[in-house]
Structures are given as structure tokens and as C-alpha cells.
Subunit: 282 residues, 2 copies
């Protein structure tokens, strides 16, 4: 396994792979790898001849007062896990190699990104789109894998790829969960034991939605019940609870039969802001 | 020479070229080709094994009230000229093939683009950056040629390419001029005979700048003289007259020895908005 810090060196290596017809996949991460990331890496390896994992805590997707400095970093462990999974290349650039002092070009999705997390974290998806496009241009993969846990991110990136004709196939992997249902996230490391013990109730609340749908509840009723369930998690503070059309991310009042919905929540629990979602066909 | 309207077909053809090691160059144009474009095409052909010319009047770089509808279009002539120049592929998409009805992703350079034409044409460079990145992703050239006449555009695109790690070499070709000095432009077609006869005075005014510099005039004096010269062109209305640092496009009050300056003007002459510039080393 190679570990490269220079974008130019990564581009050269990726080019040699492409020129001999090897299919390459990229798994973009911010490091602090957990089983969720490893599932993405395994999906990439099944699909591709060469698998690249990028490890980069991207400063431009953090807002002022967010957890950029505190974000968990353990490169030695990330490196061990990648080696064990058969990753071919880790790309781990320094921030200054990605952003020149007079950096001034941004990629911005303006429709889907204005909802949910985008409303709560202004500039977040602009940072995400910009860094993902940069990673694509540097690594030039045929395919890239993202996790469904970051549902809005997957939709925004798919839209960016379509709109800008980016020649990368986007694969979305189902959310990987702990045994008790909590969605895996590097930010789970922020939870105290007490917070960790109640955190699975986020997914339990989401899971009730399909049952309520089957019982004939309206969207308004489901939204109210979901909010109530999440609000009653000890120590939780709701950032948002959303039931939206998956294509537009517009909040819906009533669902059409067959409509694909994204039911998503963001919750502050102690220092952690946790997100989770389920896709529901109406 | 192939003529393709489908982005997917162009990507497929460009991929076959790249896979056998052929170097490709792209000349992005809005059609209405003149000798200036042909000079870019010849530069591309000297450099590359395969030359692509895109012909696309990009709606997103025109503001409301600008000349999108009136912009000259003559595809039969463009095609003839490209064939004569030995172009390998014309990419001429329909607007709907480039912009889905729910298109929502933009590429924006926020520093250089806020000066000169960007101040006068809000959103112009956002449209330019977005379409150029799309053309790069569709045509996947090794190199692309732009004309120095659109000086700010070349600087903004170079910055975008650097910031987003776009794997395309940008070549800037000197402005091609009519015998009397008028910079070639598709918009010269808007000029009446009377306007055409005074239009060369734009470049004559610009050309005086190096003489004034050699005579020891200050930037403030040169700016005043340049404005006066342009203002006295019959029928001309100044949009801007700029003496700026070429790296930042900030207007300067005094020049450092060795500083690279961009001296640029934009002038309304009848229906036409004409731009021209010279680069001056102090």
C-alpha cells in the first residue's frame, strides 16, 4: 500500500493505472475510520482493480464554531485498517497542499444544498462539493463510494456530478450500524457513556416511521410523532426533523403514492451533532 | 471531421483517443468564428494530435438584457472553417443537453471575477467557469487554448484550473487584430460602418500607454489620459478603463518596477460592447 501526500504524485500514479486499463475507485474520508468506512472500502474493492482512500479533514466544510480542531484524527490506525483491507493507495494531503493562500474558486450546489444540514451549516456543502471535485480531479477515479448516512451529501454530490458532467460513477452504500442500531460515525467518539446509551433511540424513532405509514398515519401526524420521540431522548436537542421528497429535498405536507421520501434527523447530544436517516417509499 | 451534439458521444470519442495515447486540445468558442479563433485552432493543432472545437453560445454567461438572442450564429460557416483548418471534432451541443431543467451546480471564482467585466456583468464569470469546467469534463482535453483578448477570462480560468486541480493545461494566445489594430471579436459584427471606422482608436489608446510609461508618466496620469482618449472616440461610452495588477486584478495607484500590469478597457459603441487590453511590464 502506498501513502502519498502530494496531489501531483497521486495524479501521476492514478494516470499510470488508467493508462493500462485498471478500474480505480475512490473512497473519500475524513479519517477516524470505523466499520462504516470499511464497508465502503470493501464495496470499492469489489468493483475496482485499484482502490484509493483519501484521508483529509477538509477545513472548508466546517463552519466557525464547529468541531474542526476537535475532529478525531488517528492516521496510524487509519493506515493499519486500510492496509488490512487491501487498499492500494492512501491520499493524505496537508491542508496547504489543497488550498493555496489565495484559493478563490468554489463549487456550489444551490438547490438541494439549501435544505436540512445546508440550512443549519451555511457553506458546509460548498466545502464538500469543492473538495470532492478536487479529490476527483486529483485521483481521477472511475467510481467513488459514499455512505447513505450522509444522505444529503450523496444527493448533492450526485447532482454536482450530473450538472458538471464529472466522469465519475457515484455509488451509495447503505448505512452501517452498531448492533443496537446507532449509525456509525466518527463523531460518536464525542459521546459520554450515558449519551451513547440513549443514542440508538434516534434510529428507533426513524424506524417507527414505516410502521406508522403502514398503519395509515398522515405525514403531519408522523412528523409530530417523530419529533416527539426524538425530543424525549434524554439530553437531546433537535437540530431538525425532516420528511422530504428525495429528489428535491422539499419538505412535504402529504405524500403521493410511490413517492420516494427521505426521513432525516439531526440531533445535538452533548458535544456531538448526530445525523441519521431512512429512505421510505410511500 | 466529426460533428457531435451529444456530450456522451464526445466523451466516448475523446476516451478512445486518450486510451491510445493521442494528445487532445480543446478550443472553446461561442461560434461565429473569425481569424482570432482560427489562430487558436492553429495553436491547438500544432500542440495536439486531435483538436476539438466546441461551438456553444452559453446562455448562463449572459445577463438579463444582454445580447444572448442577438449573438451572431452561423454554424454552416463555422463548420466550413473548422474543416478547412483540419479540426478533428466539433462539439456543438443544444442548450438543453448542457443544462437540465433542474440544473443547480455552479463553479464560481470569487476574487479575480469580482473586478472589471465581473463587476459590470454579474454572474458572467460564474457562467463562464461553469461551462468551461463542463466542457473540460466532457471533452477531457490535455490542453485548452483561450485568447488574450478576453484577458480576465483567461486569468479566472487559470485560477479555477489551479484551485480545482483540473488536469488541463491552459494556453493563452495573443490577441489577433485587424490590419488597423481592432481586436477581432464576433461582436464587431454589431458595428455600423461609422462605428467600425472609429473602433481602432480603442487599441490606439491602449498602445499609447507603453509610450507614456517610457516618458515617465505616473499611473494616475496614464489612467486619466487613457480615459480621455477613449471618451473622445465618437459614439463611445466607457464601461470601464482599468490599470490593474495582473495577478490580483486590483486597480493600482502606483506601479512597482517589474510589476506585470493589465491595462484593459470596455466600451459601448452602438449596440456593441467591445473589450480590449494590453499587458504592460512596469
Amino acid at each position: 500500500m502506498r501513502v502519498l501526500r502530494s496531489p501531483a504524485a497521486v495524479s501521476r500514479l492514478a494516470d499510470t493505472w488508467r493508462c493500462v486499463g485498471l478500474r480505480t475507485a475512490l473512497v473519500p474520508t475524513m479519517g477516524a475510520l470505523h466499520e462504516g468506512h470499511l464497508a465502503l472500502i470493501r464495496a470499492a474493492r469489489r468493483w475496482a482493480d485499484k482502490t484509493i482512500v483519501s484521508v483529509f479533514v477538509n477545513p472548508t466544510q466546517f463552519g466557525p464554531g464547529e468541531d474542526l480542531a476537535a475532529y478525531p484524527r488517528d492516521f496510524a490506525k487509519d493506515r493499519r485498517l486500510c492496509a488490512r483491507e487491501g487498499v492500494d493507495l492512501i491520499f493524505a494531503p496537508a491542508p496547504r497542499a489543497m488550498y493555496a493562500p489565495d484559493f478563490s474558486t468554489w463549487v456550489e450546489e444551490r438547490r438541494l444544498a439549501d435544505h436540512l444540514c445546508g440550512m443549519r451549516r451555511p457553506g458546509h456543502f460548498r466545502g464538500v462539493c469543492t473538495v470532492v471535485l478536487k479529490l476527483f480531479n486529483i485521483c481521477r477515479p472511475d467510481m467513488a463510494v459514499f455512505g447513505q448516512k450522509d444522505a444529503q451529501q450523496t444527493l448533492v454530490i450526485k447532482r454536482m456530478v450530473r450538472d458538471l458532467d464529472v466522469p465519475v460513477k457515484i455509488v451509495v452504500h447503505p448505512t452501517v450500524r452498531e448492533a443496537d442500531g446507532l449509525a456509525m460515525s466518527s463523531r460518536n467518539a464525542y459521546l459520554t457513556t450515558a449519551q451513547r446509551s440513549v443514542a440508538p433511540r434516534i434510529y428507533q424513532a426513524l424506524s417507527a416511521v414505516t410502521r406508522w405509514r403502514d398503519e395509515g398515519a398522515t405525514i403531519a401526524v408522523i412528523r409530530r410523532r417523530l419529533r416527539a420521540r426524538v425530543r424525549h431522548i434524554p439530553g437531546a436537542r433537535i437540530d431538525y426533523v425532516s420528511i422530504a421528497d428525495e429528489d428535491t429535498l422539499d419538505e412535504i405536507r402529504a405524500a403521493r403514492r410511490g413517492q420516494q421520501l427521505l426521513v432525516a434527523v439531526a440531533v445535538f447530544l452533548g458535544r456531538a451533532r448526530l445525523i441519521d436517516n431512512i429512505r421510505v417509499r410511500w
